[in-house]
């Protein structure tokens, strides 16, 4: 019993330790600019609680170009996740269920190609996209996110574990490959969909270098880039930065909390168990 208490204590402590920087960000966002750094050293009762809360930064933030930046980020992430799931699930299906000659070779080539780290080829890719006039477009922002080798790998792994009797029965009934995919495999794949969705979501939400170079136009700027540029000629606007950080974190916070109990499928698992 005491071990359980100890374990709970340590777990809670770790969780709070990870939360602390975000907490500080949140309360700094509602502090007047001058007092953001006033209560830090030495830490006292006002270090972690605002003395004079104010919404002035929040208001200024939403009246500026940040609203557009958040919209951009949400929009491209949503499209990336949906399109990415479709593409990876289809590819994973073909690589695990459909038997064709050269299947293993295609799998190996695909995995190795996707291991070419994206940020490393971002610069030549930028040149290609620019020739296709895709800079400062949503397409340019979204495209790199939808091809994700990890997601393909995950789906393939998962589908391999779904018993083939289901498929064979359906084929005897005259169902085609697409029907098998759509009606049999996908409905069983919720854990894989959610895990792959998480991977796609994180990739696009975290993206920085690519949006920085492909979409610097304020209309297309994403939140991650906008916040790094919140210093104007008159100085760094910390209140705005922290307010922006809070809102940029809010959406994934909600998403993660809603889906966290589904993150129980390991990458080594197969659909057989779930």
């Amino acid at each position: 019993m005491s071990r359980r208490i100890l374990r709970t204590g340590v777990a809670v402590f770790c969780a709070l330790a990870f939360l602390l920087p975000l907490w500080w960000v949140t309360i700094s966002a509602i502090r007047p600019e001058a007092s953001i750094f006033a209560h830090l050293s030495p830490p006292g009762r006002w270090t972690l609680w605002p003395r004079e809360p104010t919404l002035v930064h929040v208001l200024e933030l939403w009246q500026g170009p940040f609203a557009r930046a958040i919209f951009n980020t949400v929009y491209i992430t949503a499209v990336t996740v949906v399109a990415g799931l479709v593409i990876s699930a289809m590819a994973g299906f073909a690589l695990s269920v459909i038997r064709f000659r050269g299947r293993e070779a295609v799998f190996v080539v695909m995995v190795i190609s996707f291991l070419i780290p994206f940020d490393a080829i971002a610069l030549p890719l930028f040149g290609i996209m620019r020739d296709l006039r895709l800079q400062n477009t949503y397409t340019g922002l979204i495209l790199p996110g939808i091809g994700n080798g990890l997601a393909v790998f995950l789906f393939r792994q998962f589908f391999l574990g779904i018993p083939k009797d289901l498929r064979e029965a359906a084929q005897i009934d005259g169902m085609g490959w697409f029907g098998i995919f759509w009606r049999i495999y996908l409905p069983l794949s919720r854990p894989a969909i959610i895990s792959a969705g998480l991977i796609l979501f994180v990739f696009q939400w975290q993206a920085y270098l690519w949006p920085l170079i492909i979409a610097p136009d304020p209309d297309y700027k994403v939140a991650a880039v906008a916040i790094a540029q919140f210093s104007d000629f008159y100085g760094v606007r910390y209140g705005l930065i922290f307010a922006a950080a809070f809102f940029i974190s809010l959406i994934p916070m909600v998403v993660l909390t809603a889906f966290q109990r589904y993150f129980s499928t390991s990458v080594a698992s197969s659909g057989g168990k779930g």
């Binding site: 400062n136 949503y138 697409f178 029907g179 136009d217 008159y234 100085g235 760094v236």
Partner: protein
């Protein structure tokens, strides 16, 4: 056998295509007027007056200004202009970068406007600053100089006399450092600070004043020379300032104005544009004096500022040129660019108006305009004009940053020299 369920499949395919199509189409907008896109490192409010005036006189042109942080501007030019991106029409080009940009084809040739530019600038040095290889590549807009700001209260507190405002009363760096240390003992957090820390623009005058030169020699100015005695000595002086705690480490250029404005710094070397900011602070009691110099050297001040260049691939070149010519070649336009950002315009007629405006501050802060005119005419040394400037500046800024943080001076300069010797020929 082949029972594809066409319904579901088509819907899915269509849905996906629509999503991706929407992604592409969502950003497009059609405009009834011509839009000129203009990027610079300044805040929107700097160009607001001139844009408003221009749009009032030209209702069919809409000028949209975008701020790109100074440190990201090179990247922006490289990735957007360099990529043939037509969506930027006008951009502010720092004059020393013009040879590099012109050589790479990032600027529209403006020789057809030469006569008008030369008349308006009336200053061979300023015309030279926007030229390369015999042609003109940008419209000169501003020039710059530096003022030596001081906090009257902090100096008084420490019993130090305020520096005088005439060139004859110019202080030597040696005196300044001595006073700065005294001011700190008297209660100032920092004794001395440079506005654009670790930037070549700000520090070049130190080396020039000490007789060390700009660091580049040879035809085309593509040979680095950084390891001579004067370079090492001066760099060591800069390092010691921070090592001894007279100037702060870890502060970036975007934070320096704040520190002076908050009354924490006794002496501050900065541009005249800061006057606009500092005048707005209520309990900041400050004055200006001429830029210090090394006692056994010459007084030197930095100069050169932003010019406006046209993107050769611009979508709306014609309208862009109309805007830029308004903002640089007309008296009204050129003066309006300095209204919220008090930098001396190159346009001589506008400069007269500008002088009048700045002269109004003399009673409170000292003879700012007289100091500025003197410096521009007598002590200004421009940054080296070479195609290798961007690469050179990037490397030097990095070295200055290391030196400020405590790296060994001789070693750093030797490393920089070795690197630049290999780097610069690639920029030819």
């Amino acid at each position: 056998m082949s029972g594809y369920n066409l319904g579901t499949r088509s819907i899915t395919t269509i849905a996906v295509s629509v999503l991706i199509g929407m992604a592409g189409a969502a950003g497009s907008a059609s405009a009834a007027t011509t839009t000129v896109n203009f990027i610079s490192a300044q805040n929107d409010d700097v160009f607001e007056p001139v844009i408003a005036a221009f749009e009032a006189a030209n209702p069919d042109i809409d000028v949209v200004h975008q701020t790109v942080p100074f440190d990201d501007l090179n990247t922006a030019v490289e990735t957007r202009i360099g990529a043939g991106d037509g969506s930027i029409d006008v951009y502010a080009a720092d004059t020393p970068r013009i040879p590099a940009f012109a050589a790479k084809g990032y600027l529209e040739n403006l020789d057809d406007a030469r006569a008008r530019i030369e008349t308006v600038a009336d200053n061979a040095v300023e015309v030279d600053l926007v030229s390369h290889d015999g042609s003109i590549w940008a419209y000169p807009m501003w020039t710059s100089t530096q003022l030596f700001y001081f906090n009257r209260d902090l100096l008084e507190q420490a019993g130090i006399d305020a520096p005088g405002g005439t060139p004859e009363e110019r202080l030597s760096w040696e005196t300044v450092v001595e006073n700065a240390a005294k001011a700190q003992q008297g209660g100032a957090t920092w004794g001395l600070m440079f506005q654009q820390v670790d930037r070549y623009y700000q520090l070049q005058p130190l080396f020039e004043s000490a007789g060390a030169g700009s660091g580049l020699v040879g035809d085309d100015l593509l040979t680095p020379e950084l390891t001579g005695d004067a370079w090492v000595r001066t760099a060591q002086w800069y390092a010691d300032l921070h090592e001894d705690g007279i100037a702060p480490r870890g502060i970036s250029p975007s934070q320096t104005d704040d520190l002076f404005a908050q009354g924490e710094v006794a002496y501050f070397v900065g541009g005249p544009w800061a006057i606009g900011r500092f005048n707005g602070i209520e309990d900041l009691n400050y004055g200006v004096a001429p830029h210090p110099y090394f006692a056994d050297g010459e007084p030197v001040s930095p100069t050169g500022a932003w010019a406006l260049g046209i993107n050769p691939s611009a979508d709306n070149k014609e309208a862009a040129r109309r805007f830029v010519e308004f903002a640089t070649l007309t008296r009204e336009g050129a003066f309006l660019t300095t209204k919220n950002f008090p930098l001396p315009p190159v346009n001589q007629e506008a400069f007269a108006d500008y002088s009048e405006a700045i002269a109004a501050f003399t009673p409170t802060i000292g003879p700012a305009i007289d100091i500025m005119s003197h410096e521009i005419a007598r002590t200004a040394v421009a940054r080296p004009r070479t195609t290798g400037f961007v690469a050179y500046e990037t490397e030097m800024n990095r070295i200055f940053s290391d030196i400020r943080n405590g790296a060994d001076v001789t070693e750093s300069l030797e490393q920089a020299q070795a690197r630049l010797a290999r780097m610069l020929p690639r920029q030819r």
